[in-house]
């Protein structure tokens, strides 16, 4: 088992290097140049010497493979470099101050989506074509089809501007530092309500439909019939025998969506002025801030590979055929 995990881990390394190399090349091939951004100011002028100095300092004057080699040499020492943007701060610091917010938001959203989507999926499968099934289908698909920037603004207009129940944007009240501890927590949570609601409404469709589909397949299986034949109550049949098996595909999809947790939703962060990863990435892309773009990419790629690895190992644990069948049949 350990050997299997190690082998997979070793295989993941060249993959990571490949991913970073291709991305590195693609980003540098994109038109535009980090030094070009601030050069259209009639008042100021970047002297050619200074531009040359910047390019040298950032290795932009070297051939691509040299740049990549230097970058990866620093990376193995966990040095992500400094941002090319005017603040010149360490990449790790820039990502570090934005990642927690994005992770928190995404985790809460994911949990709420699962808590709502699984029961919806199960109930609409067991009551296929019932009124409940139809109403929830319409509801989740409406959420799926509604553009989130539009919904977000409607929510703000109703709940914040008209009713005044919830704050509009940001993460904290401007005077939050004068609040008591409890009020600070309450204030923070109230700022999260609108962005989370918008995302949850839009995200329900996926998981609830997977759940419904998978449940529909499972309830037709023989073992469910035999469970019923044994005289088990419908609750136990569905809740224990069917649900467990029906959850398998959902868990797979969940595993695949884990790397997405570190990427922020650009539009939501934009509208609600949340300083998360989405904003940072868009800004870096516009400014051709290669170190920040690459830093984020390494994190996402690593997480993706780890999530895949974890999924593979988990399969190996539950399914001995995979563990031993490296050369023979695949799953």
């Amino acid at each position: 088992m350990l050997l299997y995990a190690l082998r997979r881990l070793l295989l993941a390394l060249p993959l990571l290097i490949g991913i970073t190399f291709v991305s590195f090349a693609v980003i540098h091939l994109a038109p535009g140049d980090p030094t070009a951004i601030a050069q259209t100011d009639p008042e100021g002028r970047w002297t050619p010497e200074l531009i040359k100095m910047m390019r040298e300092q950032w290795d932009l004057d070297k051939p691509l493979h040299v740049q990549y080699w230097r970058w990866i040499k620093r990376l193995v020492q966990l040095d992500f470099g400094r941002s090319f943007s005017q603040d010149g701060r360490p990449v790790i610091q820039k990502i570090g101050e934005r990642l927690p917010v994005t992770l928190l938001l995404n985790l809460i959203e994911m949990i709420i989506i699962l808590l709502l989507a699984i029961p919806i999926g199960v109930l609409s499968a067991t009551r296929q074509y019932s009124l409940f099934d139809k109403v929830t289908s319409v509801f989740v698909f409406t959420g799926f089809a509604t553009p989130d920037f539009w919904l977000a603004q409607l929510f703000v207009l109703l709940f914040s501007v008209e009713l005044g129940w919830l704050p509009i944007s940001g993460l904290r009240h401007v005077n939050a530092e004068y609040f008591t501890w409890w009020r600070q927590q309450w204030d923070f949570l109230s700022h999260l309500v609108l962005p989370i609601s918008v995302v949850v409404f839009g995200g329900l469709a996926g998981f609830s439909r997977y759940m419904r589909q998978s449940m529909l397949e499972v309830v037709r299986q023989d073992y469910v019939q035999s469970a019923r034949a044994k005289g088990l109550s419908e609750r136990v049949v569905i809740g224990k025998h069917a649900l467990r098996n029906a959850l398998m595909p959902v868990v797979t999809i969940l595993g695949l969506s884990l790397p997405g947790l570190v990427g922020g939703s650009v539009i939501i962060e934009w509208i609600f002025a949340i300083p998360g990863m989405g904003q940072l990435m868009v800004q870096s892309a516009f400014e051709r801030d290669y170190p920040v773009i690459m830093g984020n990419l390494v994190i996402v790629a690593t997480l993706t590979l780890l999530a895949n690895l974890a999924a593979d190992i988990a399969y190996g644990v539950v399914d001995p055929r995979i563990r031993f069948g490296g050369r023979r049949a695949r799953r």
Binding site: A30, P31, G32, D33, A36, I37, A38, Q39, T40, D41, P42, E43, G44, R45, W46, T47, P48, E49, L50, I51, M53, M54, S85, Q86, D87, G88, R89, K94, E97, R98, Q153, V156, L157, S160, V161, G164, P167, I168, S169, G170, L171, R172, V174, N175, E177, Y178, W270, I271, F272, A273, P275, Q279, L280, V282, Q283, F286, E287, R288
Partner: protein
Amino acid sequence: MRRFAGRALACLALLAGCAACAREVDSAGDDAPRSASERPADGDTFIRPLVGNISGLIPNITSDAHSHEVGSLIYDSLVTFNRDQRFIGQLAESWVQSGDCRRLDFKLRRDVRWHDGRPFTAEDVAFTYRTMIDPKTPTSYKDDFEAIERLETPDPYTVSVTYTKPLARSLMTWGMDMLPKHLLEGFVRAGKLREAPQNWNQPVGTGPYKFASMRPGEKIVLVANKDYFEGRPHLSRVVFRVIPSQSTVFLELKAKGLDSASILSGLTALQFTRQTGYHAFRKAYHKYRYPSNSYTYLGFNLKRPFFADRRVRQAIAHAIDKRELIDGVVLGLAREATGPYKPGSWAYNPNVKAYPYDPPRARALLAEAGWKDTNDEGILVRDGTPFAFELYTNQGNDERKKIAEIIQADLREVGIAVEIRVIEWASFIKEYVKKRRFDAVILGWNITPDPDQFTIWHSSRMGPDDLNTVSYANPEVDRLLEAGRQTCVQAERKQYYDRIQEILAEDQPYVFLYFRDALPVISSRVRGVAPGAAGISYNFREWWVPRPQQRYTAE
């Protein structure tokens, strides 16, 4: 993503951000500011939006408007502008300019202290100068400092500057923020000024506000400097909230979560005219309107055969209906431009050749230049080449996109086919503007109070990194630009710039479109707001809120 549109007019906010001329206040009648009779009260918090993240708090090495907006409250300079956009002393008590414009002698105030308590002296001025010319300092504002031959500090409160040759805008150079030598010298010497903590969360200036705290991407809090040498600012705290979306800024305004829309830009024309007329908004905010100092233009690549002939450019100027364009794009909230200077400013010349909307005249001029309608498609042709060109502008700026569409329609009327290309900002600048791979562009400039536009029009500034992107070369203009920056006698300079405007109007390297109005709004509880030629935020230190109306406890 609108802030990148703003970058198209990248500016030195310190000087350019508060430049405007006429005063036209559009405030909500009954509740207009009455500042004269009341005694200013201290206290309250003022909440301002910032549409982008700041990139540092040493304005000398940042060039984005957001950083300058915050920095301008933390730092001071030797001289600044008053309401009428005339120079007044700030850290300098007085100054003398020599007759040949080569020497400037400043007497510094003796009562100025840095936020950490150290006294401000001539040493700091000399240090700031050395920082600016240090090749390792990553600043785009070197040019004017490199024109200095030597800077001497005979005593701690005297600075005398000698320029290698007369420099008209020498005084404006000293609108640059002063930096503390005792904290930054080591960083400058090591070429690591950007990495200094003073550039991030420990800035130390001499200005009316001190840095209090920051949450990156969220907010920056400043507090009143109670020991400020001109008396403490009345508003006790200033909170800058980072809100990238303009529509969220507007929603926050509606809910009274902000005390101003951006002081630099303000509302959109649509918000100003149609969406803020209701009673509650008029009660909560005062709206202001005055011409901003940025203009939008249609620029021709003069190296392209289409536009080499002046008559063609004049024809296009006649073919564009500027009035319709202003009404359509900014709902009339702009002034027609006739040249690169703002109507009403001292350098502006009203008597230049005008180009009224006149399609028949345009067609006649085009015919003179050899463009005839010989096929059935209605497109003019010369030597077998149809008159069809590509018009470029940057993504994320709706105004410019609309302008492009109106120009496209107007030119189609006279037989010119225009194809519009909208390109993302970084690629646009790097791949098209710098490499001169365009037929025509729609862009804008922020102009400075000093009329010197050498970098934009002089034929020596046509290199890839330079700003004369249309490759305009006129020997007479070159000569006038050189003369204009070498004297500081305003009457003499006016003659040069008047003539430059006449030539530019005749040559039409750009079709100058319009100067957009600035449309700021400010909470109606704030008193002391008095927009003038210098804009609206020049006297922020004097704004105040009467006790009963103070909304936040700040101390």
